[in-house]
Amino acid sequence: MTKIAVTLNGRATSADVEPRTLLVQLLRDTLHLTGTHVGCDTSQCGACVVHVDGVAVKACTMLAVQADGTQVLTIEGLAGGTQLHPMQEAFREHHGLQCGFCTPGMIMTAVDMVARLGTDLSEGTIRENLDGNLCRCTGYHNIVKAVQAGAHAMGAPAAAAAE
């Protein structure tokens, strides 16, 4: 067993893990943060996307020991207290989810997309950048709308502050 320490959703956390433990297993099985999901075993579906040091990572492709010393953000840590993150709000407002299973990964991917590409995202850009996330319920139509609206909303406070 190896002892690792991560800052998880803003809180210092430590755990003893087997070297073969995946980050997603650490989150779900050891730390009981079950919002991050597992939908495949080939890193194709993106249901397990979390942020590690601010970058979207499929938590099934990273060993827990590799996360030692990092900042990890999961869907549970995205909202500020009771205030939903604008991207979460946009998924609800635009019906960007049905069964909800792919949703945490979609939202974490979308937030990362904004960080990389800005708040003004075209439909084509969004579709291209959802390449790593599968949804079987929505046909992506409303996810695309939600990501676009959520991105705009993420830009709005910054724009307001700049004025």
Partner: protein
């Protein structure tokens, strides 16, 4: 309370359930951890067909962390029954279908890759996997047959002794003589051979199960990814024999999509429940995606030869169909109903066809079982009807829309030659609206513009119909169903006026917590946040038939509606006493009980409180409390129908298809929440486009699954799809009190022929198989170019 805070039917209210899903607080089966739970791993057959000469678990049992290893011999010793198929089909010769034995763990023989050989239960999943690798199985490998078209060949390996020729049943529907007579009158006979490709349902949440046994109460609990927990309990109790119903609680918590694949009662949840008592620990199993490809029931997989008889004016006279349907290695829970009563009964489409005959051979192969997948039989029927109708129009030199219009059923009710009596519809209305939304008239100019860019453009129509609202119990009983298909509801009004609704429907993405609450809110005049919907737990909901076949609105909500009638009736009696008026003078509107013609009235919550306080009415005449239940059995199937239009552009140099527009116009009857309904349409279209362009399950000649992961099986991604243009028309459904037809499967049913009709239009050949991948299209384009060049 006023009407303004009520959420009416027809409002796109945002979903109540979303908050937990967008914050990571959903509770899916794999999110549960029971105290002391052990982990199950299934050793699966690596070969498609074999006798098991020997099975040695002794070394594995000694591995670290192993709690127990169980095999088919243990099942037999405990008298655990086989998995069943719950729909009896009789062959043409009157004999019952030939059901091969389907044990939850193999008893001496395996019949497909992924078949269950043994289960290892250990402290951790990795320990279970390690131990499974140490089990020694001596397989006497037998020849296998995986291809649908080879199953009945004289030299094909035989799967079940009870089913000679690998034939589960040879079944027919319709009037063969009348159909022959129609063909004798035909000016044109349009032949069509087609394959409906096998699909993997692939909800993103894999199946999972946790079995638990409480020795104190001698009772079991099963948490599982089910679309119908009560049906699971019934089968596990009455047929598999694990426990009496009152000693088995089945909980289907949040379920991450199903699309049919989570209707069925599988080996894994059976074994986890049984094993929990054997090992004295909760036993948890979660499928990984590779296992899902191997062992979730697949969908479709038909080979069909059909002919359409048409007269000189383009009127359809008759339709003759011969289909071979692949059932896989065993008959899954509802497998036999899919290529029969959910398929052949829809072969009339939206058209007035005087004579139809359909013959179906259902065959066993060394592949995973095949059962309902979104649409379940109806996509197969629609693909056939809408392809052959389109080819007929083209053969006669007629516009496809005009040919369809000429054959539409226009008066209702309409009795088809294949059982169904359509109750209401306006097929021209949805066609007209779809053509307008797609600018059908402008297509020739767009095709010419595309050609100028070197692109091949095509447009395709699909005028689908489906039978939903499954289903009148007596009707399905007469057709072989082992269950009735009514639904139940219980409305519990609390003393403070808020309401809990217990429903036998199950939500796994459909938004019932919102739409069902919308119904209650609008009916009782209380805010939607005062209503909660309880489902998915056999200890809470007495009984129910679950969610599939777009039945939750038409049947499930009708049961709630009926229970609300009773609530209102009782509340009126109580209100009459409180208001000292006669019961007949009490009116209920906008959440208030009033005395007709006066300003005297009471809010719903005041009456609710009084129902429990019981001070102001004679309890000798009216029982205290306000809780009513109802069972609702529909009077007919419902018949959603519509028109989908797909326009494609194909790059002849790469074979790549771009869907440049997809228009869907659907008649779902009354719509409760348009936002949710549109979402259902979007998702269905994506699965239909997936079938048409991307998806196919492939087994090789030895029965090895070639498409066993998301690396090999192409799921639609965001980039493969356009934004959809969705519209509605409405004819109220007369067969249920709410006028609902159902919307869950329309997209998956309508889309494949729309896409293929567009592609065949673009490429100028009818011979385009599904999935129409770039490689296939490129080959077709190259072959046609070569032929054209040779002719020059």
């Amino acid at each position: 309370m006023t009407a303004s805070i009520v959420t009416p039917i027809g409002a796109s209210v945002r979903r109540k359930e979303d908050h937990r899903f967008i914050t990571g607080k959903g509770r899916y089966t794999d999110d549960m951890a029971r105290p002391g739970q052990a982990h199950a791993y299934f050793l699966r057959s690596p070969v498609a067909h074999a006798n098991i000469r020997s099975l040695d678990t002794s070394a594995a049992a000694a591995m670290p962390g192993v709690v127990g290893i169980l095999t088919g011999a243990d099942l037999a010793a405990d008298g655990v029954g086989d998995l069943i198929c719950g729909w009896m089909i009789h062959s043409v010769d009157g004999t019952p279908m030939r059901m091969g034995s389907h044990p939850a763990l193999a008893k001496g023989k395996v019949r497909y890759v992924g078949d269950h050989v043994a289960v290892v239960i250990a402290e951790t999943l990795n320990q279970a996997k390690d131990a499974a690798a140490a089990i020694v199985v001596d397989y006497d490998v037998l020849p296998a047959v995986a291809e649908t078209g080879r199953a009945r060949a004289a030299d094909a390996p035989q799967l079940h002794e009870v089913a000679p020729g690998n034939t589960a049943f040879s079944w027919e529907l319709g009037d063969a003589a009348a159909t022959d007579a129609a063909f004798a009158q035909a000016a044109h006979v349009i032949p069509l051979d087609l394959v409906n490709n096998r699909l993997a349902p692939n909800p993103i949440e894999p199946r999972a199960a946790i079995g638990e046994y409480d020795s104190g109460d001698d009772a079991f609990t099963l948490w599982t990814t089910s679309q119908n927990p009560h049906l699971a309990r019934l089968v596990l109790s009455a047929f598999v024999g694990l426990a009496p119903e009152h000693k088995l609680r089945v909980i289907a918590p949040d379920v991450g999509g199903g699309f049919g694949s989570k209707i069925f009662i599988y080996a894994e949840e059976t074994v986890c429940t049984w094993a929990a008592k054997k090992v004295g620990r909760p036993v948890k199993w979660t499928s990984d995606r590779s296992e899902a490809f191997l062992s979730d029931a697949h969908g479709r997989d038909h080979i069909t030869r059909a002919e359409l008889a048409v007269n000189g004016e383009g009127k359809i006279l008759g339709f003759r169909v011969k289909t071979t349907a692949n059932m896989g290695a065993y008959l899954s829970t509802f497998a036999s109903a899919i290529p029969t009563y959910l398929y052949a009964t829809l072969l009339s489409g939206q058209y007035d066809i005087p004579a139809i005959h359909c013959h179906v051979d259902a065959v066993y192969t060394n592949t995973a079982p095949v059962d309902a997948y979104r649409g379940a039989g109806r996509p197969e029927a629609t693909f056939l009807v809408e392809r052959i109708v389109e080819i007929a129009a083209r053969t006669l030199g007629m516009d496809g829309a005009e040919f369809r219009r000429r054959n539409f059923i226009t008066s209702f009710p309409h009795q088809t030659p294949v059982i169904m009596a359509y109750d209401a519809g306006d097929y021209a209305a949805s066609l007209d609206k779809a053509l307008a939304m797609a600018d059908y008239a402008g297509f020739p100019a767009r095709k010419a513009a595309a050609a100028a860019k070197g692109k091949l453009r095509g447009i395709g129509l699909s005028n689908y119909i489906e039978a939903c609202g499954i289903a009148p119990s007596a009707a399905v009983g007469s057709l072989g169903a082992g269950v009735g298909l009514w639904e139940s509801a219980e409305v519990r009004v609390n003393p403070t006026g808020n309401v809990e609704v217990l429903t036998g429907s199950h939500s796994h993405g459909q938004g019932h917590e919102t739409t069902f609450a919308q119904l209650v809110s609008s009916r009782l005049g209380i805010p939607i946040d005062q209503v909660s919907i309880v489902h998915g737990d056999t200890d809470k909901v007495q009984f129910g038939m679950g969610t599939y076949g777009s039945r939750s609105g038409a049947v499930g909500m009708s049961a709630i509606f009926k229970a609300l009638d009773k609530v209102e009736a009782k509340a009126k009696k109580i209100a009459a006493h409180m208001l000292e008026a006669s019961e007949g003078d009490i009116e209920f509107k906008d959440g208030r009980f009033t005395v007709a013609g006066t300003d005297r009235g009471l809010a719903f919550a005041e009456v609710a409180l009084n129902a429990y306080v019981a001070h102001k009415f004679p309890t000798s005449e009216i029982e205290p409390g306000l809780k009513e239940g109802a069972f609702y059995d529909p009077t007919n199937f419902t018949f959603p129908a519509g028109c989908h239009v797909c326009e494609v552009e194909v790059d002849p140099d790469t074979g790549e298809t771009q869907i440049v527009q997809f228009v869907a116009v659907d008649d779902f009857g009354v719509v409760i929440n348009p936002m949710i309904v549109e979402g259902q349409v979007h998702g269905g279209i994506a699965q239909g486009v997936g079938q048409a362009l991307l998806e196919a399950v492939h087994y090789d000649g030895d029965g090895q699954l070639v498409t066993g992961s998301f690396m090999d099986y192409t799921m639609p991604r965001a980039e493969n799809l356009p934004s959809f243009k969705v519209g509605l028309t409405e004819t109220r459904c007369p067969s249920n009190p709410l006028g609902i037809k159902g919307c869950g499967e329309a997209g998956a049913i309508a889309a494949p022929p729309a896409v293929i009709n567009a592609l065949t239009d673009a490429l100028g050949t009818e011979d385009i198989p599904m999935p129409a991948t770039p490689a296939r299209l490129w080959q077709i384009i190259q072959a046609r170019r070569a032929v054209a060049q040779a002719a020059e």
